[in-house]
């Protein structure tokens, strides 16, 4: 019956064309490459100041010009990208592992424990994550690890829900039951059978959480919380740009643009995976 409905609608269901996937992957890989360059060997020292060269417009010496201290914006951008990538990955992995543990525990405990745990996760998830991160950072103090922790924490509920769902679903799969009846230890069953089944969904969520984490980190460093200056961060550079909007507007453009490209790349890849899974 549903097939009839779709046919009658006279439109093809649009499938992600390979072109979109390739393009977005290329963007993401480009950003990743830039981040790696920033990590390993930025073209110029991101910290070296030169008062004489302040606010220089883009030139061959400084590809994106200089900031208020004469520091090369392009190099700072690359290092900032690297830092934010690191925090984004770190937070995502933290959320994944934390969520997986909670979700698996909830799934394998009794029904009641699982439900209560999931309710708690839902409540935690509803709380605005930026506010949560701000509060956590007040308690834990500034720094890169703190940022990873504070941002990772709000990915935990999502991954917990996903893992719990997969475990509950997996319990009913025939090959899982078979493995269990053959005496498989729960951890083995999880690793060998449930996890591969859940992998695509987890990957999609990973892309999404990564994007959220990067945006959150940028917001936090924009507000001056989390990673402290003079370490360059995309949010921090935007925050500096606010003070000099009139003098050098391009300082505001590039950090945000890089942020946008990275996030769009990541989410499109996630969507593409989701499209394939369905």
């Amino acid at each position: 019956m549903e097939q009839t409905g779709r046919l009658l609608n006279q439109r093809l269901i649009s499938v992600e064309r390979p072109r979109t996937i390739v393009l977005s992957s290329a963007i993401f890989v480009l950003m990743l490459a830039l981040a790696l360059i920033g990590l390993i060997h930025p073209p110029q020292n991101p910290m070296s100041m030169s008062i004489m060269d302040r606010f220089a417009p883009p030139s061959s010496a400084h590809w994106m010009g200089t900031d208020e201290f004469g520091r090369d914006i392009f190099s700072r951008l690359l290092v900032a990208l690297a830092t934010d990538f690191a925090v984004g990955f770190g937070a995502m992995i933290f959320g994944w592992i934390g969520g997986a543990i909670i979700g698996a525990v909830a799934g394998y405990s009794g029904r009641w424990v699982g439900e209560v745990l999931m309710r708690l996760m839902d409540a935690a998830y509803a709380f605005p994550h930026l506010v949560l991160a701000l509060l956590l950072l007040t308690v834990v103090g500034p720094g890169e690890l703190s940022a990873v922790f504070a941002i990772g924490i709000f990915s935990v509920p999502v991954f917990a829900r996903l893992t719990y769902g997969s475990v509950m679903e997996g319990k009913h799969l025939l090959y899982v039951k078979a493995a269990q009846s053959l005496g498989g230890h729960p951890l083995y069953v999880l690793r060998r059978h449930v996890f591969p089944h859940a992998l695509p969904t987890l990957l999609v969520q990973a892309a999404s959480s990564f994007s959220i984490a990067i945006l959150a980190e940028a917001a936090l460093s924009f507000l001056g919380i989390g990673i402290q200056p003079p370490a360059p961060t995309l949010g921090g550079m935007l925050s500096d740009a606010v003070n000099y909007l009139a003098e050098s507007p391009w300082m505001a453009l590039f950090p945000g643009l890089f942020l946008l490209l990275t996030v769009v790349g990541a989410t499109t890849i996630g969507d593409a995976i989701e499209g394939r899974v369905r």
Partner: protein, 314 residues
Amino acid sequence: MGRFLIRRGVAVISVMFIVSVLTFAVLQWLPGDPAEIILGVNASPAALANLRATLGLDHPWYVQYLHWLLAAIHGNFGTSLVFGQPVGELIVQRLPVTLSLTAMSLVITVLVAVPLGVIAAAMRGGWPDRVIRLTLQIALGVPSFWIGLLFILWFAISLHWLPVGGFPGFRVALWPSVQSLIMPAISLSIGEIAVLGRVVRRSMVDTLDAPYMVTTMSKGLQVYRRYIRHALRTAMIVPVTMIGLQVASLLGGAVIIENVFALPGIGRLLLVAVQQKDYPLLEGLTVFIALVVLSSSLIVDMLYAVLDPRIRLQ
């Protein structure tokens, strides 16, 4: 319906309780003696001891928590260390700005996202659908504070159409106040439009594929509007409940946007409290925000039950 409400009510209260205990406990364990913070490090030991007694700091922590809880129920969240005013008063003062901002954003979001989603769903696969989906995809990744800055650059600094920031106050100057909210509201909405738009589109697509839509077509409901009306009412159930959840998201976004545009709202208050370690204010704000979020999710659940009879019968 009544039993549903009671269950949810109990859930809300228990979560609020947990939140209050957690907030209180965490802030108790933080280094720093509130008496010292208020009086300064060089105050005499006698004065410090005196203040501690007055603040009730020499009682065991559970007694302090009880005192705090009783006060909180009466709306007394203590006095802000930074502003010297009662926390409750501060929150109430700043609330209208944040509420206006959030309301404006919500309206913009709905007015833009719903038509976009519906059009994309109705023209599935065609170029309007692809363009809309691409736009929403990009909008999802736009950092709200960045686009806010670009708006300021363009509309305020270049064109002088709108103010750079600040908020005169509705009673002082109505139209300029609204003007100062336009750019912030739009910046805030962009991300939400992306989310809501996709939800609307997906929901509409699912509805349009349902068997009963075939019936409407075979009934000869040629009028496109009726077609949309039948599908739309069912399709809107999920997005409407989504809107309730977006309130929490908007609140979080407001924290940044208020700081970009220098709007004196709850978001600014929160940032100042975090930067200056104003613990009473932080406690009050946390509880307040938790309350808002829980209420909106409660309303969302109720709305969902009202709109979709199948939920009620569970």
